[in-house]
Amino acid sequence: MIGYIVKRVAGAVLVLLLLSVLIFFAGRGLVSGNPATLIAGSKASPETIAALEHSLGLDRPIIVQYLDWLGRAVTGDFGVSPFSGIENTEVLRQQLPVSLELALMSLCFAVLIGVPLGVIAAKRAGSWLDTALRAPMILIFAIPGFISGTIAIFLATNVLTNLYSPVYIRFEDNPLGNLQIMLLPALAVGIPTAPLIMQVTRAAMIEVLGLAFVASARTNGLPERRVTYGYALKAATPPILTFIGFTFGSLIGGLFIVEQIFGLPGLGRGMLQSISTRDFTQLTAQALALAAAFIVGNLIVDLLVPVVDRRIALR
């Protein structure tokens, strides 16, 4: 078990390290030319630019700059944005919780919709109910996040206006108000993910329901509900859980879109703003935070799978 945990954690750290290289150089690529010129303005004298370069450490070799950036990032220090003058860590402290909350709520909705529907479809596989449940999923699956987001903002601004606020309500300030305004954005991200979770649940359940132990539980007189949810669903959990980890990537795509649509001050929208202002220090901080959250999420799923399935050989 310990070997398994160490291996997974090491793998996650390695991916994050490689990704940090990519993020750092993407940040530099955002600024075509000298970042110091961009910060100081094109009219600044060469002396001013040279001084700025030196003070920001931009005159050192790029590898040294990367290692310095990474070393600080590990301790949670992302420096001060030379564009806005705000500490980037403070920006992350504001934006990360918004994105995490949205992602977690969306995931809950996707699971709460996808898993029960998948179980019902599997129980009645091949019946009209199975078809009736899956047919609308074809359409939902084809609808990209920005369409579901558009429908959600239409509902928010026209019909369910009490679930919308043009100004973001922070959870610390007003928990209930915050959950209210996050409901539609989370549904907009969660619902398009649900068909995939439903499909995987259905496939896993059909397999498990055909196994001998399910028949044996039934012949022992256990109520059908208990056989389905207590035994079969438990046995079908590992592939479903593994798949849920697989949907995190599309959840992140959803964050970019839905935060933009609803004007939520999260990391996705923040990254787009950093790109448009060419604030590379802020962009790299935000991208690294988003990547770390994603990788930690996957790591949690990886570590949960052997907990729910003791049969998995812990390689």
Partner: protein, 290 residues
């Protein structure tokens, strides 16, 4: 782990009725709709009633009527003309992105499956890494460097999709490599390039066509999403994603403006999905019997 899941997904498509065979009509309709879109992408700009980018051809935010079938947008541009004009960038971007991923991914997959050993080790590690990165994050980082625009967005999507092709091609190649005719070709002194082009490529063509169709659909969605975020063709040119994004601010009073681009886009992506499914059923009979 991820590859198993992708395979599960590919084999248990949502569009697959469980025990019944699919009605072939759906596939035919999908092909026909797709053909209309392709045709409109080519000749559409010649048929539209107004120049798509011309301002104030009519009143602002006019509802649909005999003069403007789909109405007009906030700048008085004809929505029908703009929707038709948006088809070309959508298809060009999806095709370019898929082509980039197809070519590079296939080369990587062939190399890994053919030479195995260290080559496979390096390529598989890169592919594993790319699979471990959220796709939209990677695409947006690439676009941060390249800047927005149709070609750049297509390149970003193409890069992000490379591992999907590389993994499938590698798997299929490994399977073919164990066949006797590969040994025969090797013993008769044929080189790697000959074996790859004469034996491997033709034999992996059918899974390759299937994943190309799937990725054409995801690429269409991805490009529209990137365009929605402002990374697509530059204004004033029409694009599904940016047209929908622009219309969001009129949703309270003039919600109509969002309908033509959104519906046209959803029909397009449904048609690509269903056509891809029909194609897969034809090329991969195993997937139907499931």
């Amino acid at each position: 782990m991820t590859s198993e899941l992708t395979e599960t997904l590919a084999s248990t498509s949502l569009l697959q009725p469980s025990k019944r065979r699919r009605i072939p009509v759906v596939g035919t309709i999908a092909y026909a709709v797709l053909a209309v879109y392709v045709l409109l992408a080519i000749v559409g700009p010649l048929l539209v009633p107004y120049p798509p980018n011309q301002l104030n051809v009519g009143p602002r935010l006019a509802p649909p009527g005999p003069e403007f079938w789909f109405g007009t947008d906030a700048l008085g541009r004809d929505l029908l003309s703009r929707v038709v004009a948006a088809i070309r960038p959508a298809l060009v971007a999806a095709a370019t992105a898929t082509a980039i991923a197809l070519v590079i991914g296939t080369l990587f997959g062939l190399a890994a499956g053919y030479w195995r050993g260290a080559v496979d080790g390096v390529i598989s590690r890169i592919v594993d890494f790319l699979f471990a990165v959220p796709e939209y994050l990677l695409a947006i980082l690439v676009l941060a460097v390249l800047g927005s625009g149709l070609v750049n967005a297509a390149v970003a999507i193409g890069i992000v999709f490379i591992p999907r092709f590389a993994r499938t091609v590698r798997g299929s190649t490994l399977e073919i490599m164990s066949r006797n005719y590969i040994d025969a070709a090797r013993l008769s002194g044929r080189g790697g390039a000959w074996i790859m082009s004469r034996h491997l490529l033709p034999n992996i063509a059918s899974p390759l066509v299937v994943i190309t169709a799937i990725n054409l659909s995801t690429a269409t969605g991805a490009y529209a999403a990137l365009s929605f975020l402002g990374f697509g063709v530059r204004p004033p040119d029409a694009d599904f994603g940016s047209m929908i994004a622009d219309s969001l601010q009129y949703l309270t009073a003039d919600a109509w403006v969002v309908v033509p681009p959104a519906v046209a886009f959803v029909i397009l992506i449904l048609a690509i999905n269903l056509a891809g499914d029909a194609l897969r059923d034809r090329l991969d009979p195993r997937s139907v019997s499931r």
